[in-house]
């Protein structure tokens, strides 16, 4: 198991290096606009542009730029300065990371727990009203777009504009270190909104996976041993049925982060998603680059976590 984890970590390092290089290629060799013009603001003079080019090192050869970029990034985690606010991108990201991590991790945990519970009930009580309700509800939750669910839930439950004012609405986010109670309350709605679609997709997968597993020989073998039905389900069937759900969740982390952008925008949470959204609007290249890299890193790290969890579930994965 240790060897497996070491192998995965080495692979993650290679992957991150690849991600960093691809990001460089995208942002430096094929810029969507001249960085110097974007940096200079309205009505630049040719001299100003030349100065900026010199300062940003844009007139150097691409490989020198690449080397400088790697050095700044790996040694100092330095993405440069935002064109808009002239604050270091690193500072901006670190200021906003806790909000996004709170939102994404909370939603991921919430959606997995609901998905496994609902999927299991739907599979075990296939013909009961409860099972049908779970299956039907999942279809609705998958089909509804995040921004729509976000706005509807604000309209229904937010304290300021809601019909049934019970939960803090948009813009109420408080950092965990300030006030844990308010932090939790302010995230209840965003968590549910972000988790809904993800949970529904995973619940459907969980249901079909468990139904398939229940038909396997080893489940009959387990029952034939005379062990309790509860133990048959939990120990023999669920452990197998969860494996594909965990894999899908790992692949879905990217989708979850993308949906987090919309959720943060809808609920006005000052996270990475909002930062990305705003910097795209402003054409703020260093910030976009920083958030893209961060997103890629989060996906890669999430995949690592999923691979390790998968290996804990399925011993066959360890030797692969």
């Amino acid at each position: 198991m240790t060897r497996y984890v070491i192998r995965r970590v080495l692979w993650v390092i290679v992957l991150l290096f690849g991600v960093i290089s691809v990001t460089f290629v995208i942002f430096y060799l094929f810029p969507s606009g001249d960085p110097a013009v974007l940096r200079a603001g309205p009505h630049p003079t040719p001299q100003l542009l030349a100065t900026i080019r010199h300062k940003l090192g844009l007139n150097k050869a691409w490989y020198v730029q690449y080397f400088d970029y790697l050095k700044a990034l790996i040694l100092h985690f330095d993405f440069g300065f935002s064109y808009q606010s002239h604050i270091a991108v690193r500072t901006q990201i670190f200021n906003r990371l806790p909000a996004t991590i709170s939102l994404a991790v909370g939603a991921a945990v919430l959606s997995l727990i609901t998905a496994i519970t609902i999927g299991t009930i739907a599979a075990l009580r296939r013909r009961s009203p409860l099972g049908c309700l779970a299956t039907g509800g999942a279809v609705v939750a998958i089909s509804a777009p995040v921004f729509w669910v976000g706005m509807i839930s604000l309209y229904l439950f937010a304290t300021d504009i809601g019909k049934l004012a019970i939960l803090p609405g948009a813009g109420s986010y408080v950092p965990l270190t300030h006030n844990p109670g308010k932090w939790f309350a302010s995230l209840i709605m965003p968590w549910c909104v972000l988790a809904a679609g993800f949970a529904a997709a995973s619940a459907r997968l969980m249901r079909s996976s468990l139904i398939e597993t229940l038909g396997k020989g080893y489940v009959s073998t387990a029952r034939a041993k005379g062990i309790s039905e509860r133990r048959v389900i939990v120990r023999h069937a669920l452990r197998v049925a969860i494996a594909p759900v965990v894999t899908a969740a790992g692949l879905g982390i990217g989708v979850l982060l993308a949906a987090a952008i919309l959720t943060e925008t809808a609920f006005n949470i000052p996270g990475i998603g909002r930062l990305t959204y705003d910097s795209i609007q402003a054409g703020d290249l260093p910030t976009i680059q920083g958030t893209v890299l961060l997103g890629a890193c989060l996906v890669v790290v999430a995949k690592l976590v999923v691979d390790v969890v998968y290996a804990l579930i399925d011993p066959r994965a360890r030797s692969r």
């Binding site: 296939r126 013909r127 229940l214 038909g215 396997k216 020989g217 080893y218 009959s220 073998t221 387990a222 029952r223 034939a224 041993k225 005379g226 062990i227 309790s228 039905e229 023999h236 452990r239 197998v240 579930i313 399925d314 011993p315 066959r316």
Partner: protein, 340 residues
Amino acid sequence: MSALLEVEDLRVEFRTQDGIVRAVDGVSCSVDVGKTLAIVGGAGSGKTVASMALLGLTPGPCAHISGRVAFEGRDLLGLAGHELRSIRGEEIAMVVQDRSSSLHPFYKVGDQLIEAIVTHRQVSRAAARDRTIDLLELLGIPEPHHRVDQYPDELSPSMRQRTTIAMALANEPQLLVADDPTSGLDLTVQAEILELLKRVRERLGMAIIFVCRDLAVAAEIADDICVVYAGRIVERAPTELILESPQHPYTWALFKSAPQLGAPRDEELAPNPGRPPSLIHRPSGCLFHPRCPYVRDEHRRVDPALQPVAGQDGHEVACLLEPEARTRTWQELKAGARAR
């Protein structure tokens, strides 16, 4: 000999959207202490569903089981869940059909056997582990000390099947229900498994219900054979009698569709024409009539019951052909096969 297990009018129905599937339609049979009964039939004959229903193991929430399954005087179908569970794996054990998935892929072989032991016995894990190693050795698995800590994926198909049988034998049951334990194994391994079953049967004085699709394999191990078709027994006899003078056209078809040792090499196999009948819209009259080469008009209307065969003790058949016609046809079939 007293009957260990008596099955009376066992029925298993599945209520589906398309209608009621009668997978097992009134099967009665019995197994004596230490004896082996083979249930032989083709795909969709209901043999697997019937064998699982004995232990209340029918898959799916829509199954409905009725009839009587008396094991040492107790009706298994009427027992509460925990009473049934105390019999499963302890007095009646089962080897399930799907050989490739009968062992759990995520648990070590030893842990799976230990679970079977500690479910019914108040023993320590260490003692259960020792017993597991003994069992694996009894079933001819090399290096049992090593194998006990391996995962099923690391074992050969033959070893996996031996392990599955070892798990069923863990608590020395009085009855083993083995569902096609030799299917998909190559012939040498198949013979080894049969030998093994015979050996442990002697040693434990255990009865076996042996489910398979091959009459020749069944004849190797069984004292009595039931041939099932579309959820019903169409012929039942002691093994020698069914080998010598099979009475039902379906039994003939089973014989002729399997390769025979000693038959000429260029002899062609005669696959059974047609398909198994729909278990929802069952044929009228004799269930086998749509596939029977000897069908007559009245066979489409009259449903035959199991009748004793004159002069053959314990031989019963459900066929509307006259006894003389049956004997003559089988002699011709046999002679025809030899002549070719």
